[in-house]
Symmetry: C2
Subunit: 355 residues, 2 copies
DNA sequence: GTGAAAGCGCTAACAT
DNA sequence: ATGTTAGCGCTTTCAC
């Protein structure tokens, strides 16, 4: 593609025999400009399809009105929701969005930070990769007070920057409480890997709900699904079904595991939710299409994106540097579905799981 | 956030008492530079965390090494795959990706084009909104030879720009042929809305496969699901099941419809795929989590993104303007699943559905 | 091998 | 109301 020279303010100025600054003023609707010149300028600009050059503006103003986003994977229901939320808010505020995916690799994450800083993004929104345990590449951005940063979902333990996270503990508590309300006597938990904070929080929520109802969480009703696959969910649920105390309710760490559990339940000839009620903490929209009876706690991806974006816009526009931001904790929403998918829409209830 | 002045080449030059141009040369590994100065410059640059300013470079070089992407919705399995594919290739080639979503609105699409052109993206990748029937806002970009454009998925009928589309006809043909091979005698089609090209192509593929097998497509086995919801799929499948000729195979326009159909089949007490085999043309990854027995024709989202990106990079870098690009047609892939989800992974076969 | 100067497109301060 | 000028950060001639 041969390089195209586009129309500039100077071209317009020459055509009309006036100064570039006058053209600039006319174009930006400055008050101290005669209507005639303004109209003439507008006419020429239109005739030649003048497009203002944001690059020149960025260089002059030292701001790009561009936000950088680093995300582990784009192809993921939760993350794509986050992106969408960010894009929505950014767009509404006249900001553009530059996206990099780290592919859960620290190396790529570091490279992405560098790329975006070179591009002079006005702010950086980041969800760290699973590999990331050390945050200097973000925390020690050039000059130590570089670009404003907002973390979401996977956040460093000690950072002064804003953080947006989901209230997993509360969500899990509500989900378990819901099973209790439904009359479940023996509620099992198919937990996620112990090393992940979210798994631990969800387990805690489960325990808390039971204790609040005056019950003791039983060790034999808690199974860890380290790999987090449908297969493991199936296997662990089978174990549960072969124990003495058969659970009549299951809270699963996520919907993938929940799906495996449901397969095991059905294979046993039991009915959902009549015999065993199931509820899954969900990253995906799957629940919508899954078996009826699968209620779920949904991660508020879009809302998280919106909040993160709003947060960084405030950060960018705040004049005095803020010393420390306390984390913003978003509630998950508990979606309760009835047992007939045909009448599903009428039966969906959304509870606000947070406080 | 108070505006931060970052380190420039001039700062380094001053510190060392040399000319900015020398610093520039040292930094960019120019040959005609003494090793001592180079080392000195590098040292200072490192000490002060110098970050080159891409904005200044863009202004000078008249290229941003940035690509613009306009997409109807980010939260969509197919589209998020496309984005991911584009990001991957762009990144690998040193390009950044600026994303706007149109939300299926022509108005927002027009605004997005304008935004991206102002940002001086080097190229524009676009999937038009459902509302878009007139393409001047893209085709007549400033100066008529403006930014390189590549269309994908939803493309204008007559554009000289590159277009990447999916071979729906071939995919549908393969899917239907697969049902025939499986021994299905009466294969129904749950079609999409007639006004969409993809629906028409899939219907044609279905017809073609039957004809190739020496069968006549029967009108009573074709049902249009205008709304494309699970509910409609359920209703239309019920109609089919209550007709004289009960189908033993169903090719559904997409997986949402397929899901409804499967619910209807199961409610009737029939088994999938033993009694009725089902296959859906899929935009989503749902099939992975759906009932066993649901084979699907998957849209190659990531591949489409990669191709689109590669295509625009070539376009950008080609010196002589190309007169007309013929469409690039990607095959969909037919994924055949067995009936036991537990053994699923072993039984998945992927056939290349294109020619 | 290095320096000086021009220029990419734009705007804001300072004239007039 | 309009023109002049300088400068944002960088590279790239053209001198020396």
């Amino acid at each position: 593609m041969s390089k195209r020279r586009s129309i500039t303010i100077i071209d317009i100025a020459k055509e009309l025999g006036i100064a570039p600054s006058t053209v600039s003023r006319a174009l930006s609707g400055h008050s101290k400009i005669s209507p005639e010149t303004r109209d003439k300028v507008m006419a020429v600009a239109k005739k030649w399809n003048y497009v203002p050059n944001k690059i020149a503006l960025s260089l002059k103003n030292q701001e790009t009105r561009t936000l950088g986003l680093i995300i582990p994977e784009i192809v993921h229901y939760f993350f794509s929701n986050v992106i969408s939320g960010i894009e929505e808010v950014a767009n509404k505020n006249g900001y553009s969005l530059l996206i990099c995916q780290s592919g859960e690799s620290l190396e790529r994450e570091i490279k992405a930070v560098s790329t975006l800083v070179r591009q002079r993004v006005d702010g950086l929104i980041i969800c760290c990769s699973r590999e990331t345990e050390e945050f200097d590449h973000v925390e020690k951005l050039p000059e130590n007070k570089g670009v404003p940063v907002v973390y979401f979902d996977r956040v460093p333990p000690n950072s002064k920057h804003p953080k947006i996270i989901v209230d997993d503990l509360m969500g899990a508590k509500q989900a378990t409480a819901h099973l209790i309300e439904q009359g479940c006597k023996n509620i099992a938990h198919l937990a996620g890997p112990e090393n992940l904070l979210i798994s631990r929080n969800r387990l805690s929520g489960y325990r808390l709900a039971l204790q609040n109802a005056g019950r003791q969480p039983k060790t034999e009703l808690i199974k860890y699904c380290k790999e987090g696959t449908t297969e493991v969910g199936f296997a662990k649920m089978n174990e549960l079904l072969n124990q003495e105390v058969i659970p009549d309710g299951v809270f699963a760490n996520n919907d993938i595991i929940a799906l495996g559990a449901m397969m095991a339940i059905k294979k046993k000839g039991l009915k959902i939710p009549e015999d065993v009620a199931v509820i899954g903490y969900s990253n995906w929209q799957l629940s919508e299409f899954m078996e009826p009876g699968l209620s779920s706690v949904n991660q508020p991806g879009a809302e998280m994106g919106e909040q993160a974006c709003q947060c960084i816009l405030n950060y960018i526009e705040s004049d005095e540097p803020v010393e420390f931001f306390s984390p913003i904790i978003l509630p998950s929403s508990l979606v309760i579905r009835g047992s007939s998918l045909r009448k599903r829409s009428a039966q969906i209830k959304v509870l606000n799981a947070g406080g």
